[in-house]
Amino acid sequence: MTNDVTEKNLWSIYNTKIDRRDFVLTSLAAGAMTLSPRWVSAQASTPYRIGLLLPSTGAGANYMAEAIRGLPVLAADINKKGGLLGKHPIEFIYRDTQTKPDTGAREARQLILNEKVHAIFGTYSSAVALAVQEIIHEHKVLHFAATSNSSSITTENHTPYTYEWCPDSDMQSGAVVVAVAKLIKARKWKKFVSIGQDYEWGRQTHKGFIAGLSKAAPEAKEVKQLWFKLGETDFTSYIAAIMSARPDFVYPAIAGKDNQTFIQQAQAAGLLKITAYPGGLISVTELRQQRKSLPRGLIGLARCPFFAHMDQPLMQKYVKMHRGKFGADFYPDDWACMYYDALTGLDQAVTRAKSTETGALLKVLKGATYDTCRGKRKFRELTNQLDCPSYVGEVWDSPDYPFPIYNPKTMIVVEGHEVWRDDEAVKKKLKHRT
């Protein structure tokens, strides 16, 4: 009998505690590291202040822990050379959004008006991001989003100040469509049930999936849609309803702890024995934390898994830095990698613009290509969405890592531009702000 919590080496994983105090201490350490090289620059060093808006409470806390504690470490690395342009050391000011839109908007305004931040990094939840966008647009502050990924962020709620560093919900559901369509053809699947979190991201993801699948595999029919409120703790009734529909597969628009809860209860209830469950979000966070219990062969969706890009110098750097700082078991998860890319990208943009002014940065970001841990990636000029891939793969035990990864032989990597909405469709939706 195996048990996720019996392994002593796992205990250290659980002991990741992120709160404001820890963050401040790490940031202070990062700041202290900036002191030594300051003599390099004759100019007075003006800090570049970044407001970090991520949750350490609420539904997103589990996912954001590695990014929150990792970003000051990467900042310290940049600050060793004096910071941005060698004279603007990076300072992070952290605020907990609690995964709540009203809190996120309030903290964003406070960061901009009181803390005088130059940029905002965040948020986790799309609902929070949409609220924060109104604030950053009003105050003309640069916003790098690297987790919240509703396609509305870059289209229906577009602002020229927001740049999206992760695949959006259309790209993610498009990737699942590609993978599921292959399975539908191969396994002669006819009907499916959708289950999703009843909020902005869940609805958008599902909409994208249905639109894509109706073209890619019209023979598969959706026989039931189930929506549950965020934070559902008991899926028994949903699982029973799915079983009654006897689908060939279940399409999940579920992320976070709800996905963990659903998989845990669906597995124990035998649902995963009788139907496939392709496309649920299974990031490095889940692969590491549920290394014993995740069903092998389960088809998951990831946004930026380190193991897919270990050939990239930046990914190698992130992995080495993260493990070196936090322990050998701590490979950076998808979320940390995408935020690392956002910060590295900011460094590159400032170097290109030779300025930290937001106006100058917007010019060098628009439609430009940047080095990321996923290789060279270009921003879509129309939306400021990074053209980056999504990953669909089977959970598989690798001899190279202490936890399962996606089977590299069967993993499908779908590029963003292969599945995102075409320009005409985007133009119809694009918000034009004054």
Binding site: S56, T57, L226, T236, S237, G270
Partner: protein, 296 residues
């Protein structure tokens, strides 16, 4: 036949959901019924107990061979710790609230939600904790079922029967019931009301802790679970009648089964159905299905 099977499996799902709700709400109802304290932190005690259960289980599993049986000492240990914590909190905080207005009670217990949430974060961090006990699904009604739910349903019935027997068949239970109706008279008889209240509060927290422990193999323990579930607990207690264990039991089953069938028939309206029942009860019988007007 397939349709009948679908109805049976949905009924079973509703029953198990109802029992989950009962185990969570029974203590809340008991505390309010006896002490007139609306404990907003009830689900937070449940969550804290879940974390403690996971920790004890992990320790035991590292010492002995991991297995289902280790859940028993883990759950009992967590329940004992939470009963002690309940006594302490009653003594230090809740006791000062007996004569205060409802908003003040709510403020205090909401503060407890925040404080205990931070305590959880400080001790266990932000990452979800879980116990993984591999369960082999069993076949029934033509589909698979998680057999652990039979245990949950059994535990729910056992707690319901145990509470009823305690309140109606024991001397201490009769004193508790008497205190509900006339605490001055009970006091005049030489019975120490503060002791009764402390015991009831600890028992309420203990039931929540027991529920938290036995849920831990089904649910990752995560920050925010308590807030997610407390609203449904209040819905159950409002429908059943504050202070009525029988009412809480019936309301839990009603809510569980209505919710379950709504998901089958009208999934988008499942949650709305529950709150339609709450509204109907509040309009036509504000003291709840099994509450008494005295308590209202």
């Amino acid at each position: 036949m397939a349709d009948l099977n679908a109805l049976l499996i949905q009924l079973f799902a509703g029953l198990s959901r109802g029992m989950v709700l009962f185990l969570l709400s029974a203590g809340l109802s008991l505390i309010f019924g006896v002490m007139n304290i609306l404990n907003f932190a009830h689900a937070t005690f449940w969550l804290l107990a879940g974390y403690i259960t996971v920790t004890i289980y992990a320790y035991l599993a590292d010492t002995f061979a991991p297995g289902f049986l280790l859940l028993v000492p883990a759950v009992l240990g967590a329940t004992a710790i939470m009963v002690a914590l309940g006594l302490l909190i009653e003594r230090v905080l809740i006791r000062r609230m007996y004569d205060r207005e409802l908003p003040e009670q709510l403020l205090l217990t909401f503060a407890l939600v925040l404080i205990l949430g931070d305590v959880i974060k400080l001790i266990w961090g932000v990452q979800n904790r879980r116990i993984f006990v591999p369960v082999t699904p069993m076949q029934a009604f033509g589909v698979f079922i998680n057999p652990y739910y039979f245990f949950l349903i059994g535990a729910g019935f056992a707690v319901a029967i145990g509470l009823w027997l305690f309140l109606h068949r024991t001397k201490y239970g009769r004193i508790v019931r008497a205190a509900v109706y006339n605490r001055e008279m009970v006091n005049a008889l030489g019975i120490r009301i503060p002791m009764i209240y402390a015991g009831v509060f600890a028992a309420g927290v203990g039931i929540a802790a027991f529920a938290g422990g036995i849920f831990s193999p089904l649910l990752p323990m995560a920050l925010g679970n308590d807030i997610d579930i407390i609203v449904q607990c209040f819905a159950v207690v409002v429908i059943g009648g504050f202070g009525s264990i029988l009412g809480t039991f019936v309301a839990s089953l009603l809510v569980g089964i209505v919710y379950s069938f709504s998901i089958l028939i009208w999934p988008d309206g499942a949650l709305a159905m529950i709150f339609l029942i709450v509204i109907a009860v509040l309009i036509w019988r504000p003291w709840g299905l099994f509450g008494t007007e005295l308590r209202s």
